[in-house]
Subunit: 481 residues, 4 copies
């Protein structure tokens, strides 16, 4: 692994080369992900998190108490509410610039939640996890690494807990213990940006029972550790970028999610941050998902792109002043800002944990994510409404450039005479990309299932809605004694 500090997006991309990862995509072993045209867009998106360090340092960096230097905000643990708020601002900005999932939030949210949870485990059990974690954070800050947080297990039969699965590997677990560390088996699904990371931090995916101690493992591994295999997921229209940049809609940026399989991969003791403390698994999952659910403020940034694209389509069609068009843009803006506002309120209302780190408001974080699961689909519908039917019947760029048919395509697809047909085609392809194509994966389905499916938020809301206090208010006003 790269040893020198990563100082730029170029350094970052260079750092990914030559790692000898076992990566499969569409049945093929990928020689060098950096050079694979289907994988590169996701690397570009991640690279932007480095570029912003120099372009917007006040947003993209924070002062580390460990190194005494500014570090990338994605590697910083929030020690004040303002830090949590700034995470959201950074996320919206990156959503705006990439129009996709830039993949670096999971690691940030993992470090932030582990910071306070390891502290509390140590308080109870006298374990050394918190000190180890701080050492690990210092190292990754010094190198400016990307951390992937690996939580979601493949889960097998959802009606059964980990310990009752026919195949025990359905949840990642310790397969062997040695004096120096542990070996783990299992697989983590939907791993965002895993192949674009330098380190993976594995964590349990749900509240475990006392008899499930082998599943209660948290630890860090380099992405190229022995025993790890990556299988890249298919995405809608993922091969479009192979045809041409324009056909892809947003050819430069995309998300990435992989199935990561661990076949007895090793974690040394000094990188283990939980080992069998099943009573802390619920706290870890709740804190991680609280951070991560409000991280979906990024979708407000992607929503800004979609609003802009829809407005351009209307402008190109000559209808931008029609009242129903304006009204739909207002509706999209209103919906989009509810994502931002609920996430930001959660971050602003952060509170101090025993560890000294701040934790966002959990109820509002779940409200934010629940909002995301609904709003993005309605945004997509409205954007397609404004785009017009050509969105899904438009000839290809190859037709537009073909000698015989090209001039006819150009003539007949022109809307406003002063707007080049190609511009109209590009903006429709971008809307297709965001609502049906490659980045619809992140904007829609990931908005639904990432950081937990809608029902997972509802369970948390139920836990935190404090009906008792609300019943008292009602009793008091209705005169019940």
């Amino acid at each position: 692994m790269q040893k020198a500090r990563i100082k730029s997006s170029e350094d970052y991309i260079q750092s990914l080369r030559g790692r000898n990862l076992k990566v499969y995509l569409m049945g093929q072993l990928v020689e060098e992900p950096v050079d694979h045209p289907m994988m590169r867009p996701s690397i570009n998106a991640m690279a932007l998190t480095y570029e912003l360090e120099t372009e917007k340092p006040e947003l993209a960096t924070a002062l580390s108490p460990y190194t005494g230097e500014p570090v990338n905000r994605f590697l910083h643990v929030a020690m004040q509410a303002e830090d949590v708020v700034q995470q959201n601002q950074l996320q919206r900005c990156l959503g705006q610039l990439t129009g996709t999932c830039f993949q670096r939030c999971v690691g940030m949210d993992a470090l932030n939640s582990l910071y306070s949870v390891t502290y509390e485990i140590d308080q109870k059990y006298g374990t050394p996890y918190h000190t180890r974690l701080k050492g690990f954070i210092r190292e990754i800050q010094l190198h400016n690494y990307v951390i992937g947080g690996a939580m979601t297990d493949v889960k097998g039969d959802r009606s059964q807990p980990p310990s009752a699965q026919a195949d025990p590997d359905m949840y990642l677990h310790i397969s062997k213990r040695t004096p120096d560390g542990v070996y783990i088996r299992g697989a983590k699904a939907h791993q965002t940006g895993a192949i674009n990371s330098h380190w993976l931090v594995v964590m349990p995916t749900l509240r475990l029972q006392p008899n499930e101690a082998d599943f209660a493992i948290v630890g860090a591994l380099p992405v190229d550790a022995a025993g790890i295999t990556y299988v890249v997921g298919r995405q809608s229209c993922d091969t479009r970028g192979l045809e041409s940049e324009m056909e892809a809609g947003n050819a430069r940026f995309s998300g990435q999610e992989a199935l990561v399989i661990f076949e007895d991969a090793f974690i040394p003791n000094e990188l283990i941050f939980m080992n069998g403390e099943t009573d802390f698994t619920a706290m870890l999952v709740e804190r991680f998902t609280a951070f991560h659910r409000r991280s979906y403020v990024c979708k407000a940034g992607v929503g800004d792109v979609l609003i802009g694209a829809a407005a351009l389509a209307a402008e190109y069609h000559g209808v931008e002043n029609s009242s129903h068009i304006r009204d739909k843009l207002v509706e999209m803006t209103y919906l989009n800002e509810t994502i931002y506002a609920t996430g930001m309120a959660s971050s602003y209302q952060s509170h101090l944990t025993a560890s000294g780190a701040y934790l966002c408001d959990q109820l509002l974080a779940n409200v934010c994510k629940q909002q995301v699961t609904r709003v993005t689909y309605e945004m997509a519908r409205l954007a397609q409404d404004l785009a017009g039917g050509l969105l899904v019947t438009m000839p290809s760029q190859a037709d537009h450039q073909q000698q015989q048919i090209g001039p006819l395509v150009d003539k007949y697809l022109r809307a406003r005479q002063d707007v080049p047909t190609e511009n109209r085609m590009r903006i429709l392809r971008l809307i297709e990309n965001l609502t049906l194509g490659r980045n619809a994966v992140g904007y829609l389905t990931e908005s639904l299932h990432g950081a937990g499916s809608p029902q997972a938020q509802r369970i948390q809301i139920q836990r935190q809605m404090d009906l008792g206090a609300k019943k008292s208010l009602a009793k008091n006003l209705s005169g019940i004694r």
Copy 2:
């Protein structure tokens, strides 16, 4: 008017006595509003804003730079974002405690917006409005008065501007000017808590044109100034409280709105804060409505009462553990918190104005209010769903207490055997009160129209949605140059 400082809710109620206001209700001149059973609940709600001064001083008071003493937060001008945030916290708390509109926000929002606007008028025109306003604020803080903000004109034919109305009095305007001040004519509609106030601050209701200078008047009048008449509005079920406390659902608290008619009422020069500067009317309306639209966080407090009432109804019916019941309570909580979160995000994102005062985020304030116009109706629907049909078919308390029929009513309206029938009846009456009855006025219709109807928010969202920046994002990603 009361001269001694108002130090308690009792002082406040005392201060309202003997003012010789001309108040009409249902065709009758009201002798003493304080003693009128239909008006008293609204006075009780306002009185709670005084009670909280001693019960929750950190929430309900703020340190005044003018008096050097803690003053009621409703009279304080926010000089930091945290002050704006605390307004929202106070509003939610009062919504929870009263289950209705406590009527004191308009004045707070008027003072806060006038503070910065008068400063900017003075900067441009060398007028003395800002100094006058600070003097006025000091006076009301010293006496701890209630300020009513009077903005909404009756408007006549909505297709015509003020200057083109057949009857010029459709918008309040200066009818005569003297060296000592101005006389005003017109009427303000829907005036929340006007009769429970000590002072009224009149303000124009919309952006005025240069030829409409007579309508551009801002100034303060005591509520008992010569020439003012009040006509109290009807409310759904407003006479229920005359029957019995229980029939009213929430007999102790209600809102109040009146038509306030000004027939050449006088404002002395030192209480005039705008006089003809039509170019500042849009700024005033925008800033006032920004503050006031995010003030609707109070409805999240009322929503807490409604959620608690619905949960109690379910509990009394023996179904609180049914999955669809739980899910509806989760849905209500989720919806309710989106009101809170959007308002709070607006307040947290407050920014400094030239005057030194803070102004909430205008886009998010409008998003908050738009959310309120939708969410409260869905909350009401869900609460009625949980309440069951008896909500609207339940015999009266008089039947329940009647000698012959009472025992039968008690027997047949009992749900869970261990819950007194009366408790069930009380909680259903409270839900009726909030969704159809007297406080539905504030929870529903006022949520729709207060601080501007839904379309007014959409116009502001349109003004602030910055399509230009969003189009640039889309162009950049789609490769349009």
Copy 3:
């Protein structure tokens, strides 16, 4: 009871006089319901079902196979799909003319469902119910009586079935059996138009178990049978009509629902249509609710009134050509027609039962009712949006007519100069009536809970959604074998 055939609305009202019913309202025994100003509006609404016999005979009557004469359609059993369709047309028409619940559908739906169910019971058990029922129908057709269908029990603790209630009277049941008939005890809640009926038909409210035979009783009783007591339910703003016609909004018409208590009331053998056949209770409930859920097409008629009122309000305000106003009227129309269309589709798709009578499509009937539970609330919200805030802050008619204040109220509440202020006040009162007031009870809460609460429809939809067939379609297309 009236013996001569009821030939007109006047006859009908006359037929209700002097019945010596035990009716309680607000703690008082009601001397003569017909003359009670709070009860009369519901009688007027029912009377209109007679008036239409002569005004629109093709809609309001059908040829009886029993009498050979045209009879009121509410007493007719549908022997072809077209009959079922015509019921819906009649219901929408009456909703339009009354703006409320006209209360005669329950009886119609009870007769129609009992017709086929009694036939099938007799087929299985050799009982004489079907013949008895036909005899009963012939009698009521000859006299042109109003039939109330009494299904909903008070239910006590909802977590327990009838047989496990602490108090067995929570579900109506046979308290004594004699050679001549049975005595019944219990109470039916929310009984629509019961006091305005001539006969009540009691029916079980849910699927019963074999050990609950005493609860499986269907039979007819005259409303003035010994042992029956009526307690009229409170409604929002129910006393407004006592003040003035205009204050009520719709003073002429209202709905009516009562708690009906049976203290050992007698049903003679010849009027018993089910007695212990618990295995047919589910069929009866399902068929009755199928008919009754699609009967909510009446709400599309009430919706027509609300749309018209909202359009008038907009016109009076001078904004009827504003694009957002037009759009909201379109939205209301669209929503309203989905009620009509889903109900009508259910009726058109009626199928023949073994008895020869037609039964509406059950899945679509439940879809219709589910639609009603959502759409009416959104309609109310939109209507209030169009009405403006004055809806809930408007002075009373008494103020408008008062000598001193009246002219000022008239002046300041005038919107368009050519529209009398009174007209504006009347239309706002009508919208208040339909969305918060007396007829909101029927338009909103009854739309939610009448014919079963939303969850009841969902259970039926689940039973009829035939996932097996749908899974096969999906398997086939995805290539699963």
Copy 4:
């Protein structure tokens, strides 16, 4: 063109061979569409309309008054309401069997609307259009041809009418007139199944003004007429089927839409059905769109597939009995049936036109289509919720079949142990196909824009909502005279 009667799907496919059409796809001239793997699925879907003739003749055929024989229902003019209803039943059935757009409705709806419109033109102007049309219908029935209805022009600058476009070809128009017929120029966009048709019927796309007579042309051309060029539109994931059947989700069936360019193509007099009668263009558009908007009942058939697929996913995951899962399937069914019911109600309410043919209810047809534009997106969201995140992160079939990685993929993607992993993968691919992939084009975006965008329906609803009658109802009830 094929001369023998097409008697089977095989005949149909044979009839498409060797036509020498000028078809472009992705920049290439397509040699033989029938054999092109990207085009074949749309041909398969159309072929099913022939297959049903023998499999479900009562549904798929109707007795022709012209040939005296049963003909394909898609070629039949409805001479009774029941015929219109049967169209909807057939459409739902084909949606269920193909999971996509089977492309034959436009022609059916064109013939049905032209039948009555040509009759009325002839009545007014003494033209021979109706007779010609009947002759044409007889011919196509004899051969059992597919008719494509070509209405939507490319439209250029939407702020300008046809006659004011910078380029007159933005709306199809007569470029030359000869004694034998007319030549036409322009292009029709989004032409569903055009290349799979035998004949095209061109029609104007909007209400024309008197000075736009050249645009008022209706006529029929064989698809291989000189001067016609086809450019096939791109679809989301349209190349997936080239990889493997399973990766496509639904490899067998898809929709097809093309840009059809007319460069002075000829229509002989006997195939002209309108020529300059601009005053009938609005009637034609309204009647065609009425038929076509209610034709979207097909989406309820596709919705059945989606519900089945979502239910299978839940079953495979072991969660089919979870209450929130059941509830989401109920919600999908409810939403899906509202499409069916509104369309069916429109068809049942068909009325006789002067020509003797039946026309569906226009208001309800527009309500149906408006419902489709909203419901399908919510259905897709719910289906994705039930599918789980693997929907968009699932490795490819190639990975599943690869030697090294295949067994691991199989192991870790297995949910319930008794369900083969491949089955789970297949069902997720089908849901991807319908909600993001190739058939999302038809299920979502076409549901939005086909037969007119949402705003087009709202304009029609506005025209038909009869506010006058509704206002009268409200006036009457509120006592306004």
